[in-house]
Assembly symmetry: C2
Homo-oligomer: 201 residues x 2
DNA sequence: ACCTGAACACCGTTCAAGT
DNA sequence: ACCTGAACACCGTTCAAGT
């Protein structure tokens, strides 16, 4: 066959096809991407170096940035963290794949820039800044994994104490439960940060 | 050859060999486990159903429980969460593998039991209990991933704002940095919980 | 420059055969 | 009951050949 007049592939097309596969079935193979794009697997290697690079391309695809909205530091930070978490939550099954290869993608670092600026403006001293960012980041990533987890994780049948059984039954299920827990965590952390800020100043 | 007088394999031996491989190189194949145990790959299937079951066996291996120490609810909860996070942190490269297959292992649920009991005794109402547990769990898992991440994630060269650059340079590196951030997060969350408790009561 | 087809090493898993 | 050896389908990747 040979080279077509206009390329049939691009990094973006490959990443988008792979992301569709992950959303649909939780994983992808190079062969499946090729099939989705009506191409042979070997063709993909003209655009990406390998499977790892496909995953990185997906990561870049997910983090289409959004400028930090203006407002009170509290609200700005909250909006930023929600955006960050939702970028993951829109593709729950992708998260384990992304965490498997931890790479400092430019888009992610860009988000850290925004968070750092807001926190600094809010009065968090430089010496503590990265620790605070790490705490927020850890919580967001963990919450994203919580969205990815099937509700099976909270299995009342396996609980041994009546307290946990009652708690599981009271909590509801699915995305609503995960969202509510995330909001609570944000309240707790941002509230604590406000106090930290007051103490340091 | 045929059946040996005394079995050469067991689920525990397989899991231990796999964990060694993960610690050493971040992944394992069935063939590598077999080689480490001086056995053919097909032999493994007399003891485990497949690779996924090996991962579950590792999970069970990691969570050798420790009874919750008595004391003030604050200290008890802190000790519990530290233990939980350290169980992961001892095997950083394992974490992405575990998060890929979220399963409600009995050992993990057992830990939730302990946390639920402490929180309930501390006065957190049942309706909020699972949300609080989820928040703590998300933070712990996220923090464990932070330990697994190479320091490259915090790459001053990729930061765009001077604030973030300064913060990264001030933060130090490696395990010390991750541990300090984890402690800060615990302080913030447990402090916020204490206030939540005061409000609800 | 970019797609194809054939080929590679490797991997997870199955299963009949042996004791 | 448990280890072996041969065999399977599949997967990621390479590369010479084509235009």
């Amino acid at each position: 066959m040979g080279r077509p007049a206009t390329p049939k592939l691009s990094v973006e097309k490959i990443a988008a096809a792979a992301l569709d596969l992950v959303d649909a079935q939780g994983e992808f193979t190079m062969g499946e991407i090729a099939a989705a794009l009506s191409v042979r697997p070997s063709s993909l290697y003209n655009h990406v170096a390998g499977k790892v690079e496909v995953i990185e391309a997906i990561r870049a695809l997910i983090f289409k940035e959004e400028p930090p909205p203006p407002g009170e530091w509290n609200d700005t930070l909250r909006a930023l963290l929600c955006h960050y978490r939702n970028a993951f939550a829109r593709h729950p099954r992708l998260i384990p794949m992304l965490t498997a290869h931890t790479v400092s993608s430019p888009d992610v670092v860009h988000m850290y820039d925004d968070i750092a600026t807001v926190l600094s403006d809010a009065g968090i001293p430089t010496g503590r800044l990265l620790d605070v960012i790490t705490v927020l980041d850890s919580f967001v990533i963990g919450s994203a994994l919580d969205v990815a987890a099937p509700d099976q994780v909270w299995d009342a049948a396996q609980a041994r104490t009546p307290v946990l059984v009652a708690a599981i039954e009271a909590a509801g299920q699915g995305r609503v439960r995960a969202d509510r827990a995330f909001e609570l965590g944000l309240d707790l952390l941002l509230g604590a940060l406000a106090r930290l800020r007051a103490v340091e100043e």
